[in-house]
């Protein structure tokens, strides 16, 4: 009787454990100024508040620059400039307006590497992502919308389009320059002028972009960029001149803005939080799905409103997926975002790091099972290891609240109906993922999931031609495509 030999475990090449990678820092200079003033009426203007905040690099907690804090009078000056610029800008032939946007797209492409390094230093995202995603996508948004400016008559059948006036826009810190592009490009194409406020912790690329507007020859006042914290944001969204407010950020702030605008007659679009389900069926190509799961939650350190933060795996393959996922996570390189080999960079701010830590602690307290890959994190800066929770139930905070960090909660399901029910059992409705080999199932799931974007056998894909935005508490309005364009025009 030959006794059965124990099967050899599959051999794994875990390079990170065997050899150190040589550092491969991106060396292009970001050209970051020691101090940034407000960009009002085409000029860099010191804030009336005379106050500046320190812009900290999450990479090593060092001070990168100083950012002006705009007070109500500064915001008012920005709105005055935008209102003054509106008549001429909106009266330009569409083709001329479009040419400015084409120029902006090209200028961004010209200096993409420099901007990418600045973005990475300022926000903490890996250079690979800012270089290969944020910058090309931001330029693409300007390029796409440039072409709309003289074709507005085709955007709404039966009606023609007119601009709204001055638009107030407040953007988040997770994709600073890309969110700026999503906001500015359609607004300008439709003939509006803009007051835009970047996020407090990530204003540098917006201010570098302001300088680029001068090079594009954009008339003064068409775009005004003012910086600061929550008070500045409040002044931007409540200013009486704003005909429309567009906000991307947390659901709590979105609700507060909706309340603040009640009765004003201003238009509002909100792109808020999410707690997306990423659903993996047993017939899915598993290795591809595991790549997708990793991309869905660890892209940009999980600082993504549409991040696939709830993994729903069919019970029959749950063990397999978990094993493959843990193995794949061990290959993730966490660390200096400026290093070209880095997969997961720095957490955007100390405050965000603390929020992530608190929610992870709640997961442990509520009985979920934690796995973190063994990674040595840099001693300086804000870092959090890629984290996975199994044994998660629907009622736990980590399954309900947006963590906005590299933390994945895994739940299981048996039938497609159960998957849909669990996926929809949330106040949010921004996005979802479906992994299956069956095309008809993709389309059925897509029609049943209450979410604005459904990715099938892929995740976190974006395109200027493709409308993006949420259902339910994830907000209203779309960005991108013809549908997004129409949010910046009135139908006449």
């Amino acid at each position: 009787m030959a006794s059965k030999k124990p099967a050899n475990p599959a051999r794994e090449l875990l390079f990170g454990d065997l050899w150190e990678f040589d550092p491969a820092p991106e060396s292009a200079s970001p050209h970051i100024a020691p101090r940034y003033d407000l960009f009002i009426n085409g000029k860099f203007t010191p804030p009336r508040s005379k106050k500046y905040l320190a812009s900290i690099s999450p990479r090593d907690a060092s001070k990168l620059s100083e950012i002006a804090i705009a007070n109500a009078a500064d915001v008012d000056a920005a709105y005055k400039a935008a209102a003054a610029a509106f008549p001429k800008w909106s009266a330009l032939p569409g083709a001329e307006r479009g040419k400015y946007l084409f120029r902006i797209a090209r200028l961004l492409q010209d200096r993409a590497r420099e901007f990418a390094v600045a973005e990475t230093l300022d926000g903490g995202k890996p250079i690979r992502e800012s270089r290969d995603f944020d910058l090309p996508m931001a330029a693409a948004h300007f390029f796409h919308h440039a072409g709309w400016a003289d074709k507005l008559a085709y955007a709404a059948p039966g009606r023609s389009l007119a601009p709204l006036g001055v638009v107030g826009q407040v953007i988040p810190w997770n994709f600073p320059l890309l969110m700026l592009a999503w906001k500015l490009a359609p607004a300008l194409a439709c003939g509006n002028t803009v007051v835009l406020k970047p996020a407090e912790t990530t204003s540098i690329t917006a201010m570098k972009f302001a300088a680029l507007l001068g090079e594009a020859g954009l008339p003064p006042g068409v775009v005004n960029i003012i910086t600061g914290g929550g008070d500045t944001g409040h002044a931007v969204v409540t200013h009486p001149t704003a005909a429309k407010v567009a906000f991307t950020g947390s659901t709590a702030v979105g609700k507060a803005i909706q309340r603040a605008l009640a009765g004003t007659g201003k238009r509002l679009t909100l792109e808020l939080g999410g707690k997306a389900a990423n659903i993996v069926f047993e017939d899915a190509p598993l290795d591809q799905a595991v790549e997708g799961i990793v991309n869905a939650i660890f892209f940009n350190q999980g600082h993504v409103c549409c991040a696939g933060s709830r993994l729903l795996v069919q019970e029959s393959i749950a063990d397999d997926v978990l094993r493959k996922l843990k193995l794949r996570m061990r290959h993730l390189r966490v660390g200096d975002p400026l290093d070209k080999n880095t997969d997961v960079g720095a957490i955007n701010s100390m405050a965000q790091l603390e929020r992530i830590r608190a929610l992870v602690q709640s997961g442990l307290d509520e009985g979920a099972e934690l796995y973190q890959c063994p990674a040595s994190l840099p001693s300086k800066g804000f870092y959090f290891p890629p984290t996975l929770f199994s044994n998660v139930t629907m009622s736990q905070r980590i399954a309900r609240e947006e963590i906005f960090g590299p933390v994945l909660s895994i739940l299981t399901f048996r039938t497609p109906d159960e998957a849909v029910e669990k996926a929809n059992n949330t106040d949010y409705g921004l996005s979802a993922g479906v992994w299956t080999d069956k095309g008809s199932r993709i389309l059925k799931l897509s029609s049943e999931l209450r979410a604005g974007v459904v990715w099938a056998n892929t995740y976190n894909k974006f395109d200027p031609t493709s409308p993006f935005g949420g259902y339910k508490h994830s907000g209203f309005g779309r960005e991108g495509g013809r549908q997004g364009l129409l949010e910046y025009a009135q139908l006449v």
Binding site: L272, A456, K461, P467
Partner: protein, 288 residues
């Protein structure tokens, strides 16, 4: 001896049934001559919540109806109203001989229903799109109903205004809870009877009568109402939007301070449907 006629007790259409308010509350309406017309249900917040529940039950089925079928049902409603046009015109001015104006309103209402019956299988193509993304994906955006929608109709034009607000919402596959004109509730009661026999599934349209101020806060804050469409004054607009914020509702408002020409072409069409649809974008892989 003159025969004593049977008077109709006004009842609200909720979930396909004709109800009085759960509270038993009523309010009297008098006709143009000052004579007592009837006691109308004074619907309460509880009635409103029950109506939302009925609308929730009806939503999946109505949303899943084919576009063609929704159009057929809407056209059937036009048939019902046409057949009872004279009666509806009388309901618009009880106690008087129906004026040319009342008939004009009824005819415009019928035409508006027909207009939306024709939209039921066309708005999707115009509001949705196939998007030429730069990666190997078939990327498309379709419309979906936003869900249950609350409607607050104005006092004036109690038939045409109510229908102008309702029709784009149900055409889009949503279900509705509507509050009718307080001072002229009879047309809404009659409309309820027509809706009930027009093949419209029970609960797709729920019509309440009652006091606006009592119900407005619940319309604003009820978390299951995903959108509101209202003709409202400045204070009501503020209250509706403030209350709506907590559940991130979409709110479509027309100011009641300036007169609205409900007969106008602009009071109907594609972009009224657009206000009550969600847009869903799907990325489907292209490959072998």
């Amino acid at each position: 001896m003159a025969r004593l006629p049977i008077l109709k007790t006004p009842k609200c259409l909720v979930g396909g049934a004709f109800i009085r308010s759960e509270s038993g509350g009523v309010y009297p309406i008098h006709d143009a001559t000052g004579a007592f017309l009837a006691n109308f249900p004074q619907c309460t917040r509880k009635d409103l919540r029950n109506a939302v529940e009925a609308a929730a039950k009806a939503l999946p089925g109505w949303a899943a109806r084919s576009a063609y079928n929704r159009g057929q049902i809407l056209y059937r409603l036009a048939e019902m109203l046409e057949a009872r046009a004279q009666e509806m015109a009388e309901a618009l001015a009880p106690g008087r001989k129906p004026s040319a104006d009342a008939l004009r309103e009824v005819h415009a209402a019928i035409d508006r229903i027909t207009h939306y019956a024709g939209w039921s299988d066309k708005f999707q193509g115009l509001l949705g799109s196939v998007n030429p993304v730069a990666s190997p994906h078939f990327n498309f955006t379709v419309t979906e109903p936003v869900g249950i929608v609350g409607v607050l109709a104005p006092e004036e034009r109690p038939l045409l205004a109510l229908l102008s607000l309702l029709l784009p919402i149900i055409t889009g596959g949503n279900t509705v809870v509507a509050l009718a004109s307080h001072s002229q509730p009879l047309p809404a009661i009659l409309l309820g009877e027509m809706l009930a026999v027009s093949d419209l599934p029970a609960g797709v349209v729920n019509l309440l009568t009652g006091n606006r101020a009592d119900l407005l806060p619940t319309f604003a804050t009820h978390a299951h109402l995903r959108a509101l469409s209202a003709v409202a004054d400045a204070r009501e607009r503020t209250d509706l939007q403030t209350g709506a914020a907590d559940s991130v509702k979409r709110v479509t408002l027309l100011p009641s301070e300036s007169p609205i020409d409900w007969f106008a072409e602009r009071q109907q069409g594609l972009y009224h449907i657009r206000d009550f649809v969600e847009l869903k974008t799907t990325w489907h892989p292209v490959g072998a």
